[in-house]
């Protein structure tokens, strides 16, 4: 048990914890937009920490895992933004508990 393997296990547990939080959020939150927040933001962090943890456990795939983590860090927020914006344009309903809608104020509708 070297130091890098221990750090890898810790990162794996952090990633699994964030996956669990996002799964609970998918079940509990009331609305499409809040559920998409749970499905994009925390799964991005969970995937990055899991992949880098596996790379630290095995030295020969460390560089590949870092490249994969950078790719996920670039692409997942973009896809989440585009999907939520398309859902808003398709008039998906907001919940009753909505307080502020900045997008409508900006568009001036």
């Amino acid at each position: 048990m070297s130091v890098s393997v221990v750090i890898g296990y810790i990162l794996m547990f952090v990633g699994v914890f964030f996956f669990l939080v996002s799964a609970i959020g998918l079940l509990r939150l009331p609305d499409l937009y809040t559920r998409m927040q749970a499905a994009t933001k925390s799964t991005t962090l969970g995937a990055i920490s899991s992949i880098i943890g596996i790379g630290l456990m095995r030295e020969d795939i460390l560089i590949k895992s870092i490249i994969l983590a950078v790719f996920i860090l670039i692409t997942a927020p973009i896809s989440g933004s585009a999907l939520i914006r398309a859902a808003y344009k398709a008039k998906s309903p907001l919940t009753n508990k909505t307080v502020v809608d900045k997008f409508r104020e900006k568009e001036g509708e």
Binding site: I74, T75, I78, S81, A82, R85, K89
Partner: protein
Amino acid sequence: MIRKIIYGIFILIIVSAIAMFLRGTPFGVDKMDVGKYYLEETIPQTGAANVVTSVTLFYRGFDTLGEVTVLFTAALGVAVLLFIEDKKRKMTYVKANFVTKIGTRIVFPFILLTGAYIFMHGHLTPGGGFQGGALIATGFLLLYLAYEETSIDRKKFYLVEGLGGLTYVIVGLLGYFMRDSFLANVLPNGTLFDLLSGGIILPIYIGVGLKVGSELANIVDDLFCEVKCTGGE
């Protein structure tokens, strides 16, 4: 109700036939002589490390040529069906926000690079011409989604598509004139795990990858032109 009973009887007949057929085969015994033959004989015969692509291009090369023709016919059918005048279908085009635009600028060259890598290393790593071409087409789809003023030069794409298809036929005809049969292996096998190994797999897959990529990009252009050119907003 009677119809449901008849359906149930049919399903019972089919399931019992499958069960009786499976009862005669011993479980866990390898009876596939063909698979064993391919796994043992492929590398000395062809020099390709990826057995699957060597099977699709050496032992079933003529079949793959038919598949390329099927793809061409499908692209032609999409282009014919999309330009029928229909006033009821109104599609709207939503402009992308700046996050998608900047992200597309970052990711697009890497997508093209990955697609080219996949179809050039078809005899070494998993993948091949069709998969690499599909990846290249997804890059063009992303470009169309982000920038609504995108329009590709159709004539150049048709030229690339035709040249890619022609490469396949020319390599096959070389095999016909220099050896005994169509699509015979005319190039040397080389050493294993080299880029220039595996005989005719490399030129054929470069042609197929360019052909499939340009074809699917043309289909994407057709789909977006239906929104922009014919009455959409």
